[in-house]
């Protein structure tokens, strides 16, 4: 063999590093060498620093704000209050959920940590001194931290809404009520449950927690008064949406606003919304004519920016004696905090919670969700999940376990008995979703076999006997979960945020020498877009992934898109990338045919080239075609090789998975040990198996945190009790178990490359797997339901309440 031997087809495919390749993440070179460029790395000449005076009270009237002493502090330039923002009509701002939120306290405060005044100073230290010198006269008001009490109480939280019986999502039935949102056939469901042979009823609480990205939220606003241009750097998961909202709020024309999301250190839903810090920084920059930076500290982030979950889900599930499910009903009391700032598509105030029939063929179902105001921070974002899908998955996977107890049946068998069958897809659920594809039985059987499920159950039964004989103090829990997600929001016909349709976009420019740049409307926060989108494109246009730059996050250059959250990047922007690539290829085909002097139809695509049909030795590579597209006059064809695609998905995608957690629990200390965790994910076509594995590991670890300890807790006077890492659980290597990952592949029939998205599956499926393991360990002793997080004290308490401590 000599050097002139042309590469084989396999070698050409491998050289592209396209779909299915475990290509190393191109981002990691800078991240692992400290060369990332985050918002706090942005340092502009003359930059000022702004920070908030925050309320120590959860509910109080703000009688007066004294700023005189603060203004005397060296370095302090201004102290903004609601009074200063009012003439600009910026003292309140719209939320993504159709509510409004105070930017700065307007007459009262509604949660601890609420923004009261914004101190602008020459540096962070001077701002802190200024904050300490601001005096606020508060008059305490009664605090409501319990949503059930809030719905009964005479105390009016939102005085601004007093007398308004119509909210953004229908009638408000109480002054602390936000909406009642319903889906499904209530009457038929009640009838099915009422006449059922077996009914299981349970209150399932998914506690309040927080996405807690390691990089907190922040921005740098820079108003160039000479050119009339506002540049806003920030930790935005949806930079284009931020630009549009900033334009609508400020009145600055959209072309004069440039929003840049630099590297982002994790988002997980926390960085989707618009926060007072952004508004105040922009105003402060306009007022001072200087760039203004605002960066949260950890406590600010955990106290005031968007929390997640806090759903009280009362469920009823019915079945025949043989275990065939006949109906499902759920009523949710959703604690939204002081303002409804959920980041859900507009039409869905409870997100996609009505995916709560899960992986099961349930003939009839009903869901009702009551949103409630309380004296807690606003939010309710999708923490590493698609809008309220984690809540839904946790609910159904707990209800299945409770039903199994009621039936005296094995929970794995009960699941298998009720799965939607492979030949039922596309499947329309009782609550109206059209599941695109799935093969649950195959995945389930593979998972049960991988862990030797019958063997585990035998071991568990022996353990229970040994425990009763006093030979061990450890119990064994087997946590089962089969989840179905709904991601990739979404079709513009029913998904929008503040009226902006949830399409996404990709724009590709092929350079003359055959390399390329692609820009997308999404923004990576650690997902590895620069790696994986280049792989999609490599397989579509035959240019090696290593020769393709992926750029996102600058609204002056990237095409408009709705951003990255809800596992939507691959289903939507990934589809746009493939479609734009196909447009490139269509033009390339014409150019190749011209160069090869044959008809367009006489050439065919082959990995990285167009070849004459039947004469594969006559071909033009994509690089040759790119060069010709710029430098050769081709009759009837415009010069250049560029394409843009705006993709409106026809449907959501429905990734699924089977997770099994095997857990040892010490009943005397409440300490748990995860002996085995098996995670099978089916995310359709797999773009980069290594990146998928990383996503699954990360999502499972966040699920572990949520299930086993992480929470946002308040005391009865509204003190936020978990505002630091001393109290808010973030797992380290010490707590994190080893994970076994596996997969099946059921492509999405409507996605151009069949991909479904995976980033959030492990959080959606992981939480019920961990929680079910805890419950399962105590099933033999009569435990039905115990609320998360299952920290050591709470596990000890389960054992204690079951009388296992003698």
């Amino acid at each position: 063999m000599n050097d002139q031997t042309p590469p084989t087809r396999e070698e050409r495919v491998a050289g592209l590093k396209g779909l299915g390749t475990s290509r190393k993440r191109v981002e990691d070179a800078r991240f692992t060498q400290g060369k990332g460029n985050y918002v706090d790395d942005v340092k502009l000449p003359g930059m000022l620093f702004g920070d908030f005076v925050r309320s120590p009270y959860a509910h109080a009237r703000v009688a007066a704000i004294h700023t005189e002493e603060a203004l005397k502090v060296p370095g302090v330039l201004a102290v903004l209050t609601a009074k200063d923002l009012e003439p600009l009509n910026l003292h309140w701002m719209p939320t993504l959920a159709g509510d409004k939120q105070m930017v700065l306290a307007d007459g009262k405060v509604l949660f601890q940590g609420q923004e009261v005044a914004f101190v602008v100073a020459t540096d962070r230290y001077a701002a802190a001194d200024g904050i300490a010198a601001v005096e606020v006269d508060y008059q305490e008001l009664p605090v409501l931290t319990n949503p059930f009490e809030a719905l009964e109480s005479d105390v009016v939280l939102r005085e601004d809404l007093e007398g308004q019986t119509e909210g953004a999502h229908g009638t408000r039935k109480h002054h602390n009520h936000i909406f009642l949102w319903e889906e499904g056939d209530q009457e038929a469901t009640e009838q099915a449950i009422g006449s059922a042979e077996v009914v299981a009823e349970e209150m399932v609480y998914y506690h309040r927690t927080h996405p807690c990205p390691l990089e907190t939220c922040g921005c740098v606003a820079s108003m160039d008064k000479v050119n009339g241009k506002l540049t806003l750097y920030g930790t935005f998961q949806a930079p284009h949406v931020v630009r549009t909202v900033a334009s609508l709020l400020s009145g600055i024309e959209e072309h004069n606003i440039r929003v840049i999301s630099p590297d982002i250190g994790g988002g997980f839903g926390n960085k989707v919304g618009v926060y007072p810090g952004y508004v105040c920084s922009i105003v402060a920059s306009i007022v001072t004519g200087k760039p203004v930076k605002w960066i949260e500290n950890r406590m600010d982030n955990l106290m005031a920016t968007a929390f997640a979950r806090d759903y009280w889900m009362k469920g009823k599930i019915s079945a025949t004696r043989e275990g065939k499910i006949t109906g499902l009903a759920c009523h949710v009391v959703a604690d939204h905090g002081a303002f409804d700032a959920c980041a859900d598509p507009t039409k869905f105030p409870a997100g996609f919670f009505h995916i709560c029939t899960g992986s099961y063929d349930i003939p009839v179902a009903y869901v009702g969700v009551d949103g409630v105001y309380t004296n807690k921070a606003p939010g309710g974002v999708a923490y590493r999940c698609s809008f309220r899908v984690t809540e839904a998955a946790y609910f159904i996977e707990r209800m299945i376990e409770v039903l199994a107890i009621e039936l005296g049946m094995d929970a794995a068998e009960l699941r298998a008995k009720n799965f939607i069958k492979a030949d039922q897809f596309p499947y329309t659920s009782a609550l109206g979703w059209e599941y695109d594809s799935g093969d649950y039985h195959t995945a389930w059987n593979k998972a049960l076999e991988a862990v030797d499920y019958p063997g585990l159950r035998r071991e568990q039964a022996e353990r229970v006997e040994a425990f009763k004989r006093g030979e061990t103090r450890k119990l064994l829990g087997i946590g089962l979960t089969h989840f179905t997600e709904i991601v990739g929001a979404g079709p513009v016909k029913n998904c929008d945020i503040l009226g902006m349709g949830m399409f996404d976009s990709c724009e590709i420019r092929i350079h003359p020498t055959g390399s390329a740049i692609a820009r997308l409307g999404t923004i990576s926060q650690g997902q590895g877009h620069a790696t994986t989108f280049a792989q999609i494109l490599a397989s579509e246009i035959g240019i090696p992934a290593d020769s393709i730059t992926i750029e996102e996050g600058d609204t002056d250059t990237a095409p408009y898109g709705l951003g990255t959250y809800g596992s939507r990047s691959t289903p939507v922007a990934g589809a746009a990338t493939a479609m734009a690539g196909r447009k490139i290829r269509a033009k390339a085909q014409m150019i190749a045919a011209y160069l090869l002097e044959v008809h367009d139809d006489d050439v065919e695509w082959d990995v990285d080239r167009f070849a004459v049909k039947g004469a594969p030795e006559r071909f033009k590579t994509m690089a040759e075609i790119a060069y010709a597209s710029y430098n050769q006059a081709i009759p009837g064809v415009e010069p250049g090789l560029e394409a843009v695609s705006y993709y409106d998905p026809p449907n959501m995608t429905y990734p699924f998975g089977a997770y099994i957690c095997v857990m040892e629990i010490d009943v005397d200390t409440g300490v748990h040990e995860i002996r085995q965790f098996y995670a099978l994910d089916d995310c359709g076509t797999r773009i980069n198996p290594m990146v998928i594995e990383g996503q699954v590991h990360g999502g499972l670890t966040e699920a572990l945190a949520i299930a086993m300890g992480q929470e946002i807790a308040y005391d009865e006077i509204g003190n936020h009790k978990t505002a630091t890492f001393m109290d808010f659980f973030i797992p380290t290597a010490w707590e994190t178990p080893n994970y076994t990952t596996d997969h099946t592949v059921t492509p999405s029939p409507h996605h151009p490359i069949g991909a479904k998205g995976v980033g959030e599956s492990p959080n959606v499926g992981g939480v019920p797997a961990f929680s079910n393991a805890v419950h399962d360990a105590f099933r033999a002793f009569g435990l039905r339901q115990s609320h998360m997080p299952h920290d050591q004290w709470r596990i000890w308490k389960i054992a204690h309440d079951l009388g296992l401590h003698g």
């Binding site: 120590p56 601890q112 300490a132 601001v134 406590m299 505002a723």
Partner: protein, 153 residues
């Protein structure tokens, strides 16, 4: 948060009660007290620097005394704010039991704290409060102890 303690003071009851109403003695005994103004027999205003864990702040507050059962017992309620550091409010019942030349002081206090103080200091707040209370009473007892026992250094 609740605190309960008793301490034996080497002074007769009327002396102890008088001292508890003397702003100068109180100021010198309250840890971190910068200012104590007596507005009336039942109204006091104080400025105190407090440090709980990582939170240090100057608290300003008012205390109201209820001496209706004095000198057997009296109660007090108060509240103070420390700006960004948070706020505290609470009350205490104090009884003074006559033991001749000595007095047994018993108190039970209840307090509620909020803001950064409660968030950052929640694990420390009980122990810190106990420490501050015991510092006060040790200083108070020393203040009232017979001075003739003073020993030259």
């Amino acid at each position: 948060m609740e605190l309960q303690e008793e301490i034996l003071i080497s002074a007769p009851r009327d002396v102890v009660y008088a001292a508890l109403n003397d702003p100068d003695i109180l100021k010198s005994c309250i840890p971190g007290c910068e200012e104590l103004i007596k507005h009336s027999d039942t109204e006091l205003e104080a400025k105190v620097v407090l440090k709980v864990g990582p939170v240090k702040a100057r608290f300003g507050g008012n205390v109201t005394l209820d001496p209706s059962a004095a000198p057997d017992s009296f109660s007090l309620t108060g509240e103070g704010t420390g700006g960004a550091a948070g706020f505290a409010k609470g009350g205490a019942d104090v009884t003074l039991e006559d033991r001749g030349t000595e007095t047994l002081l018993t108190y039970s206090a209840k307090a509620e704290v909020g803001g950064k103080l409660a968030q950052l200091g929640s694990r420390l707040i009980l122990s810190t409060s106990r420490k501050l209370a015991s510092k006060f009473f040790i200083a108070f007892a020393e203040e009232l102890a017979p001075k003739d026992a003073e020993v030259a250094p």
